[in-house]
Amino acid sequence: MSVGDRVRDRARSALERLVAASATERALISFASLVLAVVIGTVIVLVGGRMTTCETAAFYLGHPRPFGFPQLFRIGFCYDPVLVFDRLFIGALGDPLKRGWGPFTPFTGGPINPFRAGYDPLNAQMANTLKETTILVFTGLSVALAFRAGIFNIGTQGQMLVGGLATAVSVLWVSSLVSGLVGTLALIPLGLLVGALFGGLYGAVPGALKAYADANEVITTIMLNFVATGVILYLVRDVFKDPDSFANQTVPLPDYALFPSLVFPSTSNFSIAALAFAVVCVFALYYLLTRTAYGYDIRTSGIQPAAAEYGGVDAKRTIVTSMSLSGALAGLGGAVYVLMVLGNYQTGVPAYGFDGITVAILAGNNPLGVGFAAFLFGILKSGTLVVQFSTDVPPQLVGVLRGLIILFVAMPEFFRLIGRRVLPAEPDRPGGTAVATDGGREPDPAAHQDAAASGGEDR
């Protein structure tokens, strides 16, 4: 057997192993990937720090000096990788840990309490992280839902913009009718509803094009992103523009129409109520997919359209409804962004929609996973700013680290997706996988009997 064959066989069995991994294993694999990304990121930070010039080194590497052994040499680096990752992760949460990371410091004595004295979890930095998380939950859910239905919705960004503008305009329009607490209770639900409605309608367009005109949704959704950006730029600049402002933005919404910040600092543009609503959406979508007949239809059409049709699922209707629902989730993201962060509508909304694609892939398109993936993403996004404030590390390098982490964590899921396509879906396949999954999910012995006896293919 040649080396090439061996490599190929190994790659193939690794892929099979990955496809067959259980939920716990997948979580462990993701965590291990994160650690690996940090290790590689450390190397990059060190190399970057070596290639830069600075007056005083931020970090030294030397040999140990037991019993007063003299220091023979040590290497200085301009960037401290420990500090960078400390700021990126811990800083994003508002420094919950003691200096030296609490329990990791040996011989301190006393009860182990990792938290810093006087740590307030309701700090501004945490609020910033959760703000990013909230928006990403919506766009992530939007992409994940479409994925589950077998549709690649790249138009989440456009749907979010449309939903956001519709929210801003509609809330402005009716805000003069109510005010105070009543205004808050009436306008926020109204804004969310309008955002979802318009986002949903804008999602329904590529859905209908796919279902009835057989147009590839990847193309149409990308194009509709441009359409949305262009039309909205026109509308905000020429129709809904705030005459007192130079920027392309609408008149500010009244304060009572915005999400109240509640427990977090009011300057942080974050509301725990919006996060709670996002969490409700996570569970609602999970429930929809796993417990309802409609969710069953969506999942079936997503994995195996022919079987769905056989089972009485109306393929066209499912495409249109799932795209509408996906668009509605994106629209909710836009609405929350307007009602919580912006306070008006302005052009130049960050690419939360595209980040949603990564969040969804990271989460394996599982709604519950979207919650965690969005939180990781939120940490990375807000942590980037903290790193920039507290170190000399250039923002581009932080971007590289962020990209590395996302790439590493997303890769196993990405390969799982590929593996499902590449590995033939045959009854014979378990001949290989059933044997391979022993450590994983211990199937019934009879499963082995049958799979092993009937299957086994050359792969």
Binding site: D5, G311, G312, D458
Partner: protein
């Protein structure tokens, strides 16, 4: 006697918690065709994978050509002259026959600069070698055709040629007939004869008694991983083989008691269906099935059976004609409405349509009923009930492994089929459309499925049965329509018709007409058969 081509001695193959092969001895004589017969999951494929170097045996020895061997991988087996053709072909669709056959062993250019690099393939020589090889064994294969353009039967021959090209003397074929039409099966067996005449040895895996008896010289039966006997194909009977396979006496003949038919349940009138290529696949066909009646459709595969069935079940919309269920025209109804009206359907393709491969059996048990009580109320699925349902189907139809949490892609083909049949038969249907209900299923389960079909018939269910197994439709049907090029040549009483007459009808000829005339002009005969009944 010369040394046997292959000898397996006391092969045992254990997987964690299970013994797939238990102390199996097998001797295959040179130049013979040896059938390995057994039920789904008896350990046939595992044994052959051991011989082909895919699995290492737990104990026991493999002897090829009188020499003891230990194969680490299929490559070692190929080097020792053992080739295997899997049930699912390993061909590259967009590449040509020649490219596929020589893949991995391409002849290199022997001269010029190319020789120095050793990278250039001598396409001309590759083609010549393939042509020479296929002529030597009388294969009719176009070396320049693309794999995606040739039929399954030809693809199989390409696989055989690929093994021969690599120097195989012993060919192992895993369920080679599963994907073939009856005509292609006959051609394959002719290929077997040609190969053995030239000294090659063939081992083929099957669970079909008839094929083993027709094509093989010797038959070895495996049951639960053990060799339960090797018999001479000429000196055995179907009954003996079936008993060896199942371990008890099997009723091969179905007893179809007389029954009173009820009202007309399904009526198809002047149905026309155009397929994807724009061909009229179903051409003005009419039929009716009464309550408590099994109407069989016999014919060579590809004469419009699939399209007929899909038009009735609502997966394809007909161009014209009516389909009525219990007096209501349902031609415009959706698939879901038809399911809700009591139509059950065992589809032709269980892996594409009948099952969602990534779903477990609980979820698959729901397919088609996902919007119906008692499984779903107010749009909410009652998974407890779904689980009970899957368990009862698994239990009754002997699906192995008996675990509702196992994903359907982890089941063998026969067990997948049993689960689909079970789900559809237990739906309490008014009409059952069954396309090849026993395809890929072992003898013991075939018997059970046939019994269940007849029980449903006794309960007054109308059944439309499509099968490429002639003896099956003939034994089960009350009336038998013979389909040819999209319409019925004739509808006959299956108890009154001989296989010869059926064979002629399936070829589009009407034996009652002047036979000489018909043979010269079979197209008009088919056309006149359009009226059918």
């Amino acid at each position: 006697m010369s040394t046997p081509a292959v000898e397996l001695r006391e092969i045992t193959k254990r997987f964690p918690g299970v013994v797939a092969n238990d102390d199996v001895d097998l001797t295959v004589e040179r130049g013979s065709v040896h059938a390995l017969l057994g039920e789904n999951g008896a350990g046939k494929t595992t044994l052959m994978n051991v011989l082909y170097g895919l699995y290492e045996p737990t104990s026991g020895t493999v002897v090829v050509d009188g020499e003891e061997r230990s194969f680490d991988s299929p490559r070692d087996a190929i080097d020792a002259g053992v080739g295997m053709i899997h049930q699912h072909f390993m061909l590259v669709d967009p590449m040509t026959v020649t490219e596929n056959i020589t893949l991995g062993n391409e002849p290199r250019r022997r001269s010029g600069l190319a020789r120095l690099t050793g990278l250039s393939i001598d396409r001309g020589r590759a083609r010549d070698e393939v042509v020479e090889l296929s002529e030597r064994y009388g294969f009719d294969v176009d070396p320049d055709a693309r794999i995606e353009d040739v039929s399954v039967g030809v693809q199989q021959r390409v696989e055989i040629l690929k093994a021969l090209y690599r120097g195989a003397d012993v060919l192992i074929l895993d369920e080679p007939t599963a994907v073939l039409t009856p005509q292609e099966v006959e051609d394959l067996f002719a290929v077997f004869d040609e190969l053995t005449a030239q000294g090659k040895t063939i081992i083929f895996i099957t669970h079909k008694l008839g094929e083993a008896m027709t094509a093989a010289d010797e038959i070895t039966v495996l049951r639960d991983g053990k060799n339960v006997g090797t018999v001479d194909a000429d000196a055995t009977s179907r009954e003996e083989l079936a008993e060896l396979m199942v371990g008890r006496e099997v009723l091969l003949d179905v007893e179809r008691p007389p029954t009173d038919y009820g009202e007309e349940a399904l009526a198809v009138d002047d149905l026309v269906v155009t397929d994807d290529r724009g061909v009229r696949a179903v051409d003005g066909l009419s039929l009716s099935v009464r309550e408590g009646e099994i109407f069989g459709v016999a014919g060579v595969d590809g004469n419009g059976q699939s399209e007929l069935v899909e038009a009735i079940t609502g997966l394809e919309s007909p161009d014209s004609g009516t389909v009525s269920l219990e007096g209501t025209d349902i031609a415009d109804r959706s698939r879901r409405e038809r399911i809700e009206a009591g139509m059950s359907y065992v589809p032709e393709d269980r892996q594409e349509q009948g099952l969602v491969m990534d779903f477990d059996l609980v979820e698959n048990g729901l397919l088609g009923s996902q919007h119906q009580a008692p499984f779903t109320r107010n749009g909410r699925i009652d998974w407890g009930r779904a689980r009970d349902h899957a368990e009862s189907v698994i239990d009754e139809y002997d699906v192995r492994p008996p675990d509702p949490r196992v994903e359907s892609e982890d089941l063998s083909g026969g067990n997948q089929q049993k689960f689909v049949v079970g789900r559809e038969l237990e739906r309490d249907p008014t009409l059952l459309v069954a396309a090849h209900p026993t395809r890929g299923v072992d003898v013991g389960s075939i018997e059970f499925i046939h019994e269940r079909l007849l029980e449903l018939r006794a309960q007054g269910v109308s059944i439309l049965l499509v099968s490429s197994k002639l003896e099956e439709v003939q034994a089960l049907s009350d009336r038998l329509g013979v389909i040819y090029e999209g319409s019925f040549v004739d509808t006959v009483d299956p108890d009154d018709v001989t296989e010869e007459v059926l064979g002629l009808l399936m070829a589009g000829e009407r034996p009652d007409a002047d036979s000489a005339d018909v043979r010269e002009a079979d197209t008009p005969a088919a056309d006149s058969g359009g009226g059918g009944e």
